[in-house]
Subunit: 419 residues, 2 copies
């Protein structure tokens, strides 16, 4: 059984919105063993919607459509589908109640257009939306399941997780796919591939799928079996071989962000953490805080962006700052050690670097970033050389900093060196 | 004349790569008056490539394909097109020289697979790639131009700018599309639609396209004319009508993030800004810093996540904190006013709220967030009620805070009230 994705919306075609929905759906479907045959973005146009469904339903058993279900007039999908399936709209009382609650909870007035969102085609299975007011709809035609959802990403994701995936499991007999993933930070895809060439052959000879899934600063190594959970132990053992070879890079087996992993370590050790950020401008703290429950270990931080704030808020020595510059071993050390005392935390991360696009020098090109991690026993510091891209440099710094914290908490030594 | 985009690659279908190429092409094409009819992502499969071309060339005059031209084995597009156009491959000496130079410059060894990249179909116009080794190809069939380019974004963009757009201008007589967008914050799509119902009718009666483009916390209102720039003034006037009705929500005409807009305001006023964040945990600072050049106005901030840090770093009164709780009018006021002095900035943003998923009470449910903005003259404070989603609440808080700053800098009054 294959799936097709239809993303509806002029904003996708004119490039005002990047189609992250299609990527998310592709990832979730393929991880559940449903291959994606094609992913089409089309206009908010009844004729185009119908043509797309008619063409794709001859090729696949499942069509997932997103977009065109909002309350405003440019949203046509619901009416188009109602006509296509030769049915009519009818207010669903249960949905109306939920929409009313949605507005009441937010202290907002409910308008007639919102009432109309409770009107749904008679012949569909309603897919409830617990994050917004536009429901999803599940139709069937000649053996093909056709699902329509709103285009707002977190609403669509909510409907998929709450409603669609459980129903799909019941509806289709899916071949059971089993994945397991090794998470690594700070080592490139080609280095991994080179270092584990023989291991890769072994994995493939066993009939497993192997994928290197790189994103800036991280590579996930995923083994897939189409025999299901019975291969779990064998796959775990294979990944453990790589895990044990790479103590500085491989941080866990199983999908987990390094922020969550370090959070768990801190909780286990009953330790607190804080941040003194310059070039990352709050990104590390933000990523730590994005983990629910982080208030147990995250105390707070200082964003010491300007020279002034480094002196005033963190107590960096002004003379040293002028002598060495903010992006220096001396200053990063002071930021981490003074910061730890100021914040009164067990572990303090400090960052100072040149994120770009401007500000680089011959000595310290754009992408040079010092990271330090101070505990009561020691300060670990390291100079990294990332690339030209500001956003990427900031993100790589955050990931590298968390990996340094992890190594320190786990007693994995890190020589101080240029990476 | 319309265009279609075909993005080739399994990595797009399984969601390993987000299709930013399609968004970029959509934006560039529509800004040059070429509407995009559809954008398809398909598998690295000869049959699928041919089916897609055959279906789309009956609908459009231009097909832009990306992907499948690299040196590795899974890249099939070139061979598929050579067969499709009934021609053969032939080494192009000029291209071979450039590939040789490319490798020499980087001090890398050239492999046979790289030599083969200079082999191109006899019947195509070569589109030179000055950023990589895989050339683009321009074919024509029954009045449809079919272009194939590599999928690496900066190589594709280079070929489009250097080669494709100049050639397209010569080849087609293009109808010119013109868009303009009004940016709003803090007002829902349905409220906008309701409030501007008559205006919407006027816009549509005039023959313009109108779209509401919502994302959490923001709605963009876009008017489109297919008569090109000659309608610019009329569209500007139409958007200005809405802009003037919504001083607290509409912040500018033209695509600009609110962080950038506020940054420009601060620069113009030669003012500095700082942040005292609790529930947003650094997100506001991070978003401010993500704008290149923000170091001119952004001084720094404090992430006062725990009670302790609010007292220690920001100087909030401990008794008041225990009496009122962190999410209260009294404490947010102290955070903003004390914070402004601590940071020594002209404008200080403070946030304190319950981002969720836990921590809500009957009085202060999840999603309750106080935001304050302090200047030397006044403190504006406002209690917001967002929803249940932590990530969304944090982002909505950041956007709302920036909008409060904007209103204050522009002298737009904001009553203190529950929203």
């Amino acid at each position: 059984m294959k799936a097709a994705i239809i993303s509806i919306g002029d904003e996708l075609l004119i490039g005002q919105t990047v189609n992250t929905n299609a990527a998310w759906l592709g990832k979730e479907l393929s991880s559940r063993g449903i291959p994606v045959y094609a992913s089409w973005a089309i206009a908010d146009d009844p004729e185009e919607i119908i043509t797309a469904i008619d063409q794709l339903r001859t090729k696949v058993g499942l069509i997932l459509m997103t977009g065109g279900l909002g309350p405003t007039k440019d949203d046509l999908t619901k009416h188009t589908l109602t006509k296509y399936f030769n049915t009519e709209l009818e207010i669903v009382p249960e949905v109306l109640v939920r929409i009313e609650e949605f507005f009441a909870k937010r202290g907002r007035e409910m308008l007639d257009v919102n009432v109309q969102q409770a009107a749904l085609p008679k012949d569909c299975t309603v897919l409830h939306n617990y994050h917004g007011t536009a429901c999803g709809m599940w139709f069937e035609k000649d053996g093909c399941v056709i699902i329509s959802m709103p285009g707002v990403p977190y609403e669509m994701k909510g409907i998929m997780m709450d409603e669609v995936f459980p129903k799909l499991k019941d509806h289709f007999e899916l071949s059971e796919i089993y994945h397991q993933t090794l998470m690594t930070q700070g080592i490139g895809e080609s280095f991994l591939a080179e270092q584990f060439k023989d291991w890769e052959t072994k994995v493939r000879d066993r009939g497993f799928g192997l994928a290197y899934l790189p994103s800036p600063g991280l590579v996930r190594l995923r083994i897939t079996s189409n025999q299901g959970k019975k291969d779990a132990t064998e796959i775990q053992n294979l990944l453990t071989e790589v895990f044990e070879e790479l103590p500085r890079n491989a941080y866990c087996i199983g999908e987990k962000s390094i922020f969550e992993f370090v959070g768990d370590l801190l909780k286990k050790n009953k330790m607190t953490i804080g941040t003194i950020e310059s070039c990352t401008g709050g990104h590390i703290a933000e990523q730590i805080v994005s983990i629910p429950g982080s208030s147990v270990y995250f105390e707070g931080g200082i964003i010491a962006y300007s020279y002034d704030q480094k002196v005033k808020l963190v107590g960096v020595n002004q003379e040293d700052l002028l002598k060495h510059g903010a992006v220096s071993e001396e200053i990063i050390r002071q930021m981490a050690t003074n910061g730890r005392l100021k914040l009164g935390v067990d572990v303090c991360i400090a960052t100072s670097g040149i994120a770009g696009p401007d500000g680089g020098t011959e000595d310290k090109p754009v992408g040079s970033v010092w990271i330090a991690v101070a505990t009561k026993d020691e300060v670990v510091l390291k100079l990294f050389r990332f690339g030209d891209n500001r956003e990427r440099n900031i993100h790589m710094t955050a990931l590298s900093a968390m990996n340094l914290v992890r190594c320190q908490l786990q007693g994995i030594s890190f020589e101080k060196k240029i990476d």
